[in-house]
């Protein structure tokens, strides 16, 4: 019970901070919108996909990428609290220790849901549509948020692990090639085979491909097992990440 209350209070702390200091939150929300504009309009004319419009192919990828970039805000927030001594201070108080981590996860999920809502609105505005009905569309949303949830815990673990600001920046930069080496913007079939294979098995591609399938948007016409079973992969990858990184994060945290 106290763990729940502590978790709620610490989540509320994050939300209050956003309300008082909305600028970074708004910028973070607008960043994926910018991607839609850049890739949809600036580069999009040069990209083609086998069956359908590029914008319909792109949007689920941008949704998935937004989930991935959430990793950076989680990482930044965890290390900021650590380096400012906030985490230590809470740890020296009669606050449930697990509550501090679950509150971070809850706050980041709230933030992601808000960001996702803005991005969906932006998608609808530029003409993207879901064609398979409400059930599969909700399933796609759930899979996207599941990926974010798994990456929150990866972010918490990495934040506790690296701690130093320079290393945080390094990790944040590494997210970019990982994000782009996927089926988000272009079909892996256009890449060199070895790179295409990595891109195809990338958890991000799995979720993007699963979202395309469930939203009824065009895929990239994959002939491989990974490409043809994206929903299974998009369900398994995050669960696997959670099974690994939740215990690692909790252990790291307990050790201090």
């Amino acid at each position: 019970m106290t763990a729940l209350l502590d978790g709620y209070l610490l989540t509320r702390r994050e939300v209050q901070r956003w309300v008082h200091q909305p600028a970074p939150v708004v910028i973070a929300l607008l960043f994926p919108v910018l991607q839609v504009l850049i890739f949809g309009y600036l580069f999009g004319g040069a990209f083609t996909v086998p069956n359908g419009s590029y914008l319909d192919y792109l949007m689920p990828g941008v949704y998935a990428l937004a989930m991935m970039f959430g990793l950076e805000s989680t990482l930044g927030a965890v290390t900021a609290d650590l380096n400012r001594g906030v985490t230590d201070r809470f740890r020296a108080m009669p606050v449930r220790r697990t509550a501090i981590l679950t509150a971070r996860a809850a706050a980041d999920m709230l933030n992601s849901c808000a960001g996702f809502a803005v991005l969906l609105g932006c998608g609808l505005l530029v003409g993207w549509r879901a064609h398979e009905g409400i059930g599969p569309a909700l399933a796609a949303v759930a899979l996207l948020l599941l990926l974010r949830f798994a990456l929150v815990w990866l972010g918490i673990y990495l934040g506790l692990l690296v701690r130093r600001t320079e290393l945080v920046t390094a990790v944040q930069i590494l997210v970019w090639p990982l994000g782009f080496c996927s089926s988000v913007f272009v079909s892996p079939s256009t890449m060199p085979p070895w790179l295409g294979a990595i891109a195809e098995w990338n958890p991000l591609s799995a979720t993007a491909a699963a979202a395309r399938e469930l939203f009824g948007n065009p895929g990239w016409g994959a002939q491989t097992w990974a490409g043809q079973h994206p929903v299974v992969l998009a369900g398994c990858w995050p669960v696997l990440l959670l099974l690994v990184f939740v215990p690692l994060a909790v252990r790291r945290y307990r050790r201090g």
Binding site: R13, H20, R89, R91, M93
Partner: protein, 315 residues
């Protein structure tokens, strides 16, 4: 052990191959301010981290308010307050929002938490700033809010880890006043500091740490007297005359003189104050040295510290 709030014996801590603490012994009486003094890396913060249940020690025993830190850390956390080196209150929130959060995190019910937050803000002279965001506060106000946040449940022991690092003199004064008031109300304070005058101002007793060992434990006054008595400072008007003033001091008093060109001060330790002054005044009367000031004073803890660790170069 009656009459002891913090009791540490044989505390050892190793980080990899580096020994951070090498058998610390520490006893703090209730209602006192105990200073932990030492240069960076002496082990002060490690002692605080162990006593506040943030880090586990390798060997030794530690009781805080009678509770074994190793066996029952959760109960220790109910009795302590920790104000770390950096301000941990949220800049984006108001003073009141910060304190209400800390009150709720100490598990006061919602209504009680609101009253307590208001009480604490008044108590630490922040009543008028309660509705303002913390980023508009001065450094001293922030630190007081930090201290207020650790006083929600009136802890038996308050740990202050370098509480005035980075504050201007006015902010330091405000924090010192707050600490004095808390102690007057019966809180025990363990204070770490690199500022020797801070320990001098606040602490009833001081434990001096160097490279993980206790090298002295005494009242600040005692610590100073171990240096061998008082000191005479002679401040010259012309920088060029500083060396001449030093020679005069050595001649009149005897012993090693310390010259500080930055402040134009020549300083020397004395055992017999009156005789030394008498000799010095007579020597100065016939010398062509123009003085700005002359002072007979107790040694600072800085000087005591240098004498205790034996190497001035390291600082």
């Amino acid at each position: 052990m009656y009459g002891v709030v913090i009791s540490v014996d044989g505390m050892r801590k190793r980080y990899g191959s580096k020994t951070a603490l090498d058998g610390i012994r520490l006893e703090v009486a209730p209602g006192r301010v105990h200073g932990l003094l030492g240069p960076n890396g002496a082990g002060k913060t490690t002692v605080v981290r162990i006593l506040t249940t943030l880090t586990a020690m390798d060997e030794g025993s530690a009781l805080v308010d009678g509770i074994d830190v190793r066996a029952d850390p959760a109960r220790v956390r109910m009795r302590i307050g920790l104000v770390g080196q950096y301000s941990t209150v949220d800049e984006e929130l108001t003073g009141w929002q910060n304190l209400e959060l800390y009150a709720r995190l100490h598990h006061l019910p919602a209504r009680r938490a609101r009253t307590r937050a208001r009480e604490l803000l008044e108590r630490f002279g922040l009543g008028e700033a309660a509705g303002r965001r913390v980023c508009t506060y001065s450094g001293g106000m922030r630190r007081r809010l930090d201290i207020a946040a650790s006083m929600v449940r009136a802890p038996s022991v308050l740990f202050l880890d370098e509480p005035t690092t980075g504050l201007d003199p006015r902010g330091r004064g405000q924090v010192w006043d707050s600490v004095r008031e808390l102690v007057a109300e019966g809180t025990t304070v363990l204070l770490t500091t690199q500022y020797l005058d801070e320990a001098d101002q606040l602490a009833d007793r001081v434990t001096v740490l160097d490279r993980g060992r206790v090298i002295a434990e005494a009242a600040p006054r005692e610590l100073k007297s171990r240096l061998g008595g008082d000191r005479i400072d002679v401040i010259v008007r012309e920088p060029g005359q500083l060396e001449r003033a030093g020679e005069l001091l050595t001649g009149a008093v005897g012993g090693a003189v310390h010259l500080d060109p930055e402040t134009n001060t020549a300083s020397i330790g004395v055992t017999d104050r009156l005789a030394a002054l008498d000799n010095l005044v007579r020597a100065l009367r016939s010398a062509p040295v123009e003085l700005a000031d002359i002072e007979l004073r107790q040694p600072t803890l800085d000087e005591a510290f240098l004498a205790l660790t034996g190497d001035g170069d390291r600082r």
